[in-house]
Amino acid sequence: MRDLLGVTLSVVLPWVAGTLAVAALRNRASERDWLLCAGYGYPIGAFATTLVMRAVSLLAPPWGLSVVAVPLALLAIGAFLLGRSGEAWNRAWTRSRDAFGAMPASLRGVLCIGVLLIAVRLAGLAAEVALRPLLPFDSWTQWSTKALVWYHYGRIVPFVSPEQWLSTSDPMRFVDSHSGYPGTVPLLQAWTALCIGHWDESLINAPWPALSCALGLAFYAQVRRVGVSPAVAALCTYLLMSLPFLDVQIALAGCADLFMAVAYGLAAMALWQWTLRRERSDAVLALIMTVVAVSLKIEGMLWALTLLPPVLVSIHRRAGLSTVALVAGAALLYVFFGPPEVEIFGYILRTRFSNVSQPLLEHLFLMDNWHLLWYLTIVMVAANYRILLTPALAPMSVTLLGGLAFVFVVFFFTSAAGGVEDESLVNRLPLHLVPALAFYLVLLWHVRRRGISPDAAVSSPPRVAGSGDEALAAGAGGSQ
C-alpha cells in the first residue's frame, strides 16, 4: 500500500505541477486545451522535480520527501493562481463533452476504439514495468547506478572518470560505465525511490509509463490543434503508441531514449505550432522541451541544433532554406576536404564513409520494429513532395530533414557506425525522431486531404487561435 501511494505521489505531484504550469502559460489561449497541458505537464513537472533535487542537493542535502515535494506543491499552487483567469477546466470539459455528443456515431466508435487500444497497450506496459527488475544493459551500467547511489546518500555525489577514480582514494567519488552522462533520468528514479521510501528496482521506473501516457496526450492534443478530427487524432495516436520499438523502450524501462524521443518530439511539435500561430506559449513550450532534451543525453545538444533551422525558415523562408543549403554544402565540403577525424559531443566525426545500410534497412524495413512507419514515410513524402517546402510546412520539413541528416551523419560518418553494425544503436537513434516524424506524417496527410493551401505567409505570420485549419487557412489567405 505504501508503495502504491508512493508511486502515485511520485507521478501525480510533478504531473499536476507541470500541468498547472503549462495551463498558466497558456492562460491567454482562447481555448485552453487541458489535454495539451497534461501532455506537456508531466515531462515539464518531472524536469522541475529534478531541478528541485539538484538545488536541494547543492544547498541543503540530504533529500527528504517533503524537502522536494513542498517546492513542487508551491509550484502547483502558484501556477494555479496564475492560471485562474483562463478557461476553467470544467468549461473545457463541457465543451469537449458537447463536441463528443455532436459527433456521428461511427466517429464516436472510432474514437472509443482508438482510446481503448491505447489504454490496453499502456496498461499492459505499465504492468510489465511494475513487475520486472531492470533488464537493459545500459540501465544497470550507466543510469540506475547513479540513481541508486544518489538515493542512498540523499544527494548528488560525483561520478568521475575511471582514470580519476583510480588516481584518488576518496570513497565518495563514484564511477560507472559512463560517469559523464547527464543526471536527469537517474534523478527521476531517485525521486521515485524517495517517494516509496526504499529502493525498488521495478517501481523506480514509474516515470516510463507516465511519460508514455504524456506522449500520447501531447501528441493527440497537437494533432487536434492541426485541425484533425478527434476520431482520427485518436487513431493516429494509437498508431504512434503501437510502434513495437517504442513499446519495448517503455516495457524494459531504465534507459533514457524514450525520454529523449518525447522531449524532442514535443519540442518539434510546439515549435511548428509556433511557426504557424506565433503564440508565445508554443515558443516557450518548445524552448523548455529543448532544454529538457539537452539535459537528458549528450546528443540532446545535437538534436537541439536541428530545431534552429526551422526557426530561421519560419522567420524568413528563403534565408532559412539558403542557410540549410549552406550547411549541407559545408558538410559535403567537410567530407571531401576536412580533417579525417574530429570529435564532437562524444562522436568522432569522420570523412570516411561507413556503409551500414544493410543493418539499417533490415531494422527499418524487414523486422517489425516500427510496423509500417518507414514505408509510410517514404510513400507520404514521395506523394507530397510538391508541398514539403511550402511556407506552412517548410519549418517541420526542415526539422525532419535536420533530424534525418543527423541520424545519417552519425550512422555513416562517425564512430557510432560500429554501434549500427553491431545493431546496438540502429533503432535507438531513429527512435528520438519518431514522435516528431509521426506528427509530420499526420500534418502531410491533413494538408493534402483538406486541400487547404499550405502557402502561409510566414514573413507576415498569422496570429490565429483555434483550430489548425483556421490557422492554415488564414495563412493561405495571407500568402505572399
Partner: protein
C-alpha cells in the same frame, strides 16, 4: 447504361471498407502462397515421405561418445575442439527435401557451433556443408538449395560440432521432413506465432528471432499492401470507379492492425510470463528468480563480507558482462570495473590502502594466500588481507 454505371460507382463508394479488406486479404493470401511455394521443394500439397535416421545409426569420426537407446551421445570433442558424426543414408533426391532438421538435447546452444555435412552420388569425394541454426534449444535446422550444393542424390549425412561442450550433446535423430506447400504454410504460421521473450538484447533487437523466418510478417504485409493498392487502381480504372483515398488508407490500416495484433498478443504472453516470474516479490526475491540469480547470490555473499558503504572496490573479471552486472549488484558501494571489453588489472599504485579488490575469475592478477599479497604478472605485488573466498576463482581482499 449510365444509371448502371452510376450504381456501380455508388456501391464502390459505400463499400470502401469491404473493398479494402477483400483486396488486402486476397493479396496477403497470394503473397503467402508464393512464399510457401518457394519453400515447398516443388511439392504442392503432399511431399515425399520424410526420411529419418535415428541417432544410434551414426558413426563417430572425431571426438568421443557412445550410442545408447536410439540416440548418440557426443561426450567430448577432440583436442582441436571438433566432433563429427556421420552415416550413409538410403539415396534420396535433394530437390524434394529442401529442409533438414537435427533433434538434439543436452548442450548449450550458445556454446557450440553446428554444421551439417553431406555427400552426393554425383560427387562422392566431396563433403558439402552449411551452418545450422538452433531453434528452441533442441532443434538445429537448415533450409538448403542448389546454391549450397544441395542437389543431385544424397548418399551420406553428418554433423560437425565446434566449440565447447558444457554437457554431452545427445543426437536423437536426423530428419529430412516431408515438405510441401501445405507444410510450408504451416511452418510460416509457426514462425509468425512464435514468442519474442524479453531478454537482455531486446532493448535494441526485439525482433532478432525474425531473421530465421522465411519472410517477416512486415515484409509480407507491405508487399500485400502494395499489391492490393495496385489492384485497386487497376479495378477502379477498369470499372470506372472514382478513386477513393479511403480505400488506400483502409488497406494501410488493416495491415497495421494485423501486425499490431501479433505484437499485442506477444506483449500479453510476455506479461503473463513476467508475472509468473516476478509478481509479489521484493527486489531481492526478483533477482533470485531472474536468469542471473547465481551471480546475484554470489554478490550477496560478497556484500555480506563488506563493511557499510561506501568502500572502494575494484571488481576484476575477465568477462566484461559479468564484470558490469556483478558490479551493479554491489552498489551503493563505490565499485569500479573496467568498462573496456578486455578488462585490465589496475597498476599497484592505483590500488590504494583500504581499497577492496574482488578477483572474480580473473587471470590478470593473482592473490597469494600464503604471502598475503596481490601479485601482478610482471612480478609487482601489494600486501592485502583476504576477506572472503568463494570456491576457486573468487577472492575478496583488502589492500593494506
Amino acid at each position: 447504361m449510365s444509371t448502371a454505371t452510376e450504381t456501380v460507382r455508388l456501391e464502390a463508394r459505400d463499400g470502401w471498407g469491404a473493398i479494402a479488406a477483400v483486396l488486402f486479404f486476397a493479396a496477403t493470401a497470394l503473397v503467402i502462397a508464393v512464399l510457401a511455394a518457394s519453400h515447398s521443394g516443388g511439392n504442392a500439397l503432399q511431399g515425399p515421405a520424410a526420411i529419418t535416421v535415428a541417432g544410434d545409426h551414426f558413426n563417430l569420426v572425431r571426438g568421443r561418445g557412445r550410442a545408447f537407446a536410439g540416440a548418440y551421445s557426443l561426450e567430448t570433442l577432440d583436442s582441436s575442439g571438433l566432433g563429427i558424426l556421420s552415416t550413409g543414408v538410403q539415396p534420396f533426391a535433394a530437390d524434394s527435401y529442401p529442409r533438414i532438421e537435427w533433434a538434439l538435447r543436452g548442450a548449450d546452444p550458445a556454446g557450440v557451433q553446428l554444421s551439417f555435412l553431406w555427400r552426393t552420388l554425383e560427387r562422392p569425394k566431396h563433403n558439402f556443408h552449411v551452418d545450422l541454426e538452433w531453434r528452441d534449444g533442441n532443434l538445429a535446422w537448415a533450409e538448403l538449395g542448389p546454391q549450397d550444393g544441395w542437389s543431385g542424390t544424397i548418399t551420406g549425412v553428418g554433423l560437425v560440432v565446434r566449440g565447447g561442450l558444457s554437457a554431452p550433446l545427445v543426437v536423437q535423430s536426423f530428419t529430412a521432413p516431408s515438405v510441401s506447400a501445405g507444410s510450408a504454410v504451416l511452418e510460416i504460421g509457426r514462425q509468425w506465432s512464435k514468442p519474442f521473450p524479453f531478454k537482455g538484447t531486446t532493448i535494441t533487437l526485439p525482433f532478432d528471432a525474425e531473421r530465421s523466418d522465411y519472410a517477416s510478417p512486415l515484409i509480407v504485409v507491405a508487399a500485400a499492401q502494395g499489391l492490393a493498392i495496385a489492384a485497386y487502381y487497376f479495378l477502379a480504372r477498369r470499372r470506372q470507379w472514382p478513386r477513393d483515398p479511403r480505400v488506400l488508407w483502409a488497406i494501410v490500416l488493416i495491415g497495421w492492425l494485423l501486425l499490431d495484433l501479433r505484437w499485442q498478443a506477444d506483449l500479453w504472453r510476455q506479461l503473463a510470463q513476467t508475472a509468473r516470474q516476478f509478481a509479489g516479490k521484493t527486489t531481492e526475491e526478483k533477482h533470485l528468480a531472474a536468469y542471473d540469480h547465481e551471480l546475484f547470490e554470489l554478490m550477496r555473499q560478497v556484500n555480506g563480507a563488506l563493511p557499510a558503504p561506501p568502500v572502494r572496490i575494484h571488481f576484476l573479471a575477465d568477462n566484461s558482462v559479468l564484470r558490469a552486472r556483478g558490479a551493479f549488484f554491489l552498489y551503493p558501494q563505490n565499485v569500479y570495473h573496467d568498462p573496456r571489453v578486455l578488462g585490465r588489472a589496475p597498476d599497484p599504485e592505483q590500488v590504494h590502502s583500504g581499497d577492496y579488490v574482488l578477483l572474480f575469475w580473473f587471470r590478470g592478477l593473482d592473490y597469494e594466500r600464503l604471502q598475503q599479497r596481490l601479485l601482478w604478472a610482471d612480478g609487482r605485488s601489494k600486501p592485502a588481507d583476504e576477506i572472503l573466498a568463494l570456491g576457486d576463482g573468487i577472492v575478496l581482499v583488502r589492500a593494506r
